[in-house]
């Protein structure tokens, strides 16, 4: 008996000691598993939030659904894992999730120190402040001496400290572990100001007891490029995640939508049409083997658009002006329309 336990324990330790190489195998794991595992927020309206039926929706959720569509031709083959800002990167490092699509800011230290890679920017954001209208504030520079509710482990926490220090203002930080605790403390009056990314402010404002009593101050105090994150070292999977986003942006550029993608793909069977629309031909996979280069099938982009839509459609559906969040495209418009969303060519 003793011997058996010893043998078992030794085997277990040896098993541990064989470090798993972080090389190109995430995609293979996903295909074998038959499901993508995607780390999302614990509920941020417009970005990743379960709806009344418990179905996850949002701009970040669409990134995951698009990847699943490219791999499986089925946007429902995703398991969503809600993660707090505090444990998100650890969950990715320890292979609990395949990627994060969790409104995470791309910074140099996160890119280099955590063994992770950001693959792109699916939302250009910036940090702002929200306060009660009754305080009659017109600028964040009037916030000296205020109590500020912040969520811990975020770039927000650091930006707020930078902002107040740079402007020689004093403030009292009141820090909580989750977004819900933070917004509740603000709502109850523990703080004068609530600060997070501007998109988050609009989303969290919907949770307040009287949303219209609160206003977002005009200053944007930081750059918050939000994007999907994968583990460092698996370049194949990183490329796939990167190009899924680019495919959605390209589709908007060349006018491919969820409604017309099937028709456009069908037209491409005609050699004459193919010759006149080279970009579109490459996009739908009628020309070249771009899907195979990414490790998926050549109609990958068609699958993405058919199931999820192009970037503009995803934006308008989740956070756009017709949604409760009412966010304008602004920086997130296409580069051709004065925004920053730009895709390298698919060729």
């Amino acid at each position: 008996m003793t011997l058996r336990i010893a043998t078992f324990a030794t085997a277990a330790i040896l098993g541990l000691a064989v470090a798993q190489p972080a090389s190109a195998q995430t995609l293979r794991e996903i295909t074998t598993r038959g499901q993508l595992v995607c780390g999302v927020s614990q509920g941020l309206a417009g970005f990743s939030n379960p709806d009344a039926q418990g179905r996850w929706t949002g701009l970040d959720v669409d990134v995951c659904r698009a990847i699943a569509a490219a791999i499986f031709d089925d946007p429902t083959k995703v398991r969503f894992v809600p993660l707090s800002s505090a444990n998100r990167f650890t969950a990715l490092q320890s292979r609990e999730v395949d990627l994060l699509a969790r409104n995470s800011t791309w910074t140099l230290s996160r890119d280099t120190q955590l063994g992770l890679d950001f693959t792109g920017i699916n939302y250009y954001d910036g940090q702002a402040f929200m306060a009660r209208r009754s305080l009659r504030l017109s600028s964040a520079l009037e916030l000296g001496g205020a109590s500020v509710c912040i969520q811990t482990g975020t770039t927000t926490e650091l930006n707020a400290a930078d902002f107040f220090r740079a402007n020689n203002l004093r403030f009292e930080p009141v820090v909580f572990a989750t977004a819900d605790e933070t917004i509740k403390a603000y709502d109850s009056g523990r703080c004068d100001v609530f600060t997070t990314d501007a998109s988050g402010l609009y989303a969290e404002r919907l949770k307040l007891s009287a949303p219209n009593d609160h206003m977002v101050l005009p200053e944007i105090i930081s750059k918050e490029p939000l994007g999907p994150v994968v583990r460092h070292g698996d370049n194949q999977f990183a490329d796939l995640v990167r190009w899924v986003h680019f495919a959605m942006v390209t589709a908007e550029e060349i006018g491919v939508t969820q409604a017309n993608v099937a028709a456009k793909a069908a037209e491409m069977r005609n050699a004459e049409v193919r010759r006149r629309n080279p970009d579109l031909a490459r996009f739908v996979g009628a020309d070249g083997t771009f899907g195979e280069m990414l490790g998926v099938t050549n109609d990958w982009a068609v699958r993405i658009i058919r199931h999820v839509g192009n970037y503009g459609e995803s934006f308008e559906r989740n956070v756009g002006e017709r949604t409760p969040l009412g966010i304008r495209r602004g920086l997130n418009n296409l580069w051709t329309k004065g925004g920053l969303q730009y895709s390298p060519p698919i060729r």
Binding site: A6, A9, I13, L14, L16, A17, A19, Q20, P21, A22, S85, A86, F89, T90, Q93, R110, T112, Q113, L114, G115, L135, E142, L143, G144, G145, A146, S147, T152, G153, T154, E157, L158, A160, A161, D162, F164, R165, F171, E172, P173, V174, V175, F176, A177, E181, K184, A185, S188, G189, R190, D192, R231, H232, G233
Partner: protein, 399 residues
């Protein structure tokens, strides 16, 4: 083997056995094997973690502690700003934990002691109240109680503009905490400390003199009252003799908050309230059990000797009850310290919350979790070391 054989062997050398069957040799062999096994596990885990971190390009080591922290904290006992290092932020968290643990342990002991006495009181109302208190508090999870004190009791207080003024407008109560005048000590204030220390020393000398006199003559002397009088009188005399070396900074209403003065944040109040009331319920039961463990005969013997009931409790029951009380009390002290990590639920910047923030900002999970574990282990060993020493002092000396 017969009894006669066994009796004959007593006093003889032990019978010779083969080397491999010698219990001593076997014992050493298994101990050594276990040691090798444990060392192997620890080494394996450490090198495995190191290899994996390197393979995944995750930085490791404790160098990050010198880097600038860049985040602010709402309560700090030492000067701290965002430009200080992660290491200093860690110390700030540690001191915040110690603050709540030390005040909490003292308050929980006092309240628990009286709850224990109340549980045994002859008065039905007192006894029932204590029983209800213990049964209710003990059976509700602590984290719920913390959230209750924080959200249901402290947050509904008015905002700073409508603060509740107490003590003639000197102290303000609002949903940002309690704000009171902050004492500013002039240099001469050091003599006040000296006066206080002198009062303590004189009190100690009086106590020894009184004990000797009582042993010789049987006469008693009110040592407690004398010491208390000295502790109040000497610093007061010094205060006025030195020309009042303490001034006060009064809080002023600013645009958002009361600025200046000394502020106790609601997170601290909620955490302390929750921990103290919760732990006091357990300590109350320990005290009750300790008192009941003293045999009735002791009380009866004391009254047969003519001791008054107060003296019976003080000199006969309590010293014997302490022997039963101290060991489980140690566990409660340790629990209170460790439970203070639940501060994370209400945003009090204790060791756990601050170190977690450091972890999130640097990504050094293994190092920071190691630091948290080592620190709580150290605090717990320190507490139990002290309590074991005290336990030995009050323990029954057997002859």
């Amino acid at each position: 083997m017969t009894l006669v054989d066994q009796a004959a062997r007593v006093g003889q050398a032990p019978p010779k056995v083969a080397f491999l069957n010698n219990p001593k040799v076997r014992g050493i062999f298994w101990q050594a094997l276990l040691l090798v096994f444990v060392v192997f596990i620890v080494w394996g885990a450490a090198s495995n973690a190191y290899e994996n971190l390197r393979a995944q390009n995750i930085a490791s080591g404790f160098g990050f502690l010198d880097n600038q922290a860049n985040f602010a904290l709402s309560q700090s006992l030492i000067p701290y700003t965002e430009t200080n290092s992660y290491g200093r932020a860690f110390i700030v968290g540690l001191l915040n934990t110690l603050l709540v643990a030390i005040i909490g342990i003292a308050a929980a002991s006092v309240i628990g002691f009286f709850v224990g006495l109340a549980r045994l009181a002859k008065n039905v109302l007192v006894r029932q109240l204590a029983t209800w208190y213990v049964e209710f508090i003990r059976n509700v999870p602590l984290v719920l109680q913390l959230v209750f004190w924080y959200t249901a009791v402290l947050q509904p207080l008015p905002n700073p503009r409508d603060s509740i003024a107490l003590f003639g407008g000197e102290v303000f109560l609002n949903n940002r905490g309690v704000v009171m005048p902050k004492p500013i000590f002039a240099d001469a204030a050091i003599w006040l400390v000296a006066a206080f220390a002198a009062a303590l020393v004189i009190g100690f000398i009086v106590k020894r003199w009184s004990a000797q006199r009582q042993a010789a003559t049987g006469q008693t002397f009110p040592v407690g009252w004398t010491t208390l009088g000295l502790l109040i009188a000497l610093p007061t005399i010094a205060f006025y003799a030195l020309g009042q070396p303490i001034s006060f900074e009064h809080p002023q209403l600013g645009r958002f908050n009361l600025s200046g003065g000394l502020r106790i944040i609601p997170e601290f109040v909620a955490l302390l309230l929750g921990l103290v009331l919760y732990t006091a319920a357990f300590i109350g039961e320990i005290v009750r059990a300790g008192i009941q463990a003293v045999h009735r005969g002791q009380t009866e013997a004391a009254s047969a000797l003519g001791l008054r009931s107060g003296h019976t409790t003080r000199f006969v029951v309590i010293p014997q009850a302490l022997r039963v009380i101290i060991p489980p009390l140690t566990s409660q002290f340790l629990n209170l310290t460790k439970n203070s990590t639940l501060a994370v639920a209400i945003g009090y910047p204790d060791l756990f919350l601050v170190t977690n923030t450091i972890n999130n900002q640097t990504g050094q999970a293994i190092e920071t979790v190691g630091m948290i574990m080592a620190t709580y282990l150290f605090l717990s060993l320190l507490t139990s070391g002290f309590m074991n020493w005290y336990n030995q002092r009050v323990a029954l000396v057997e002859r």
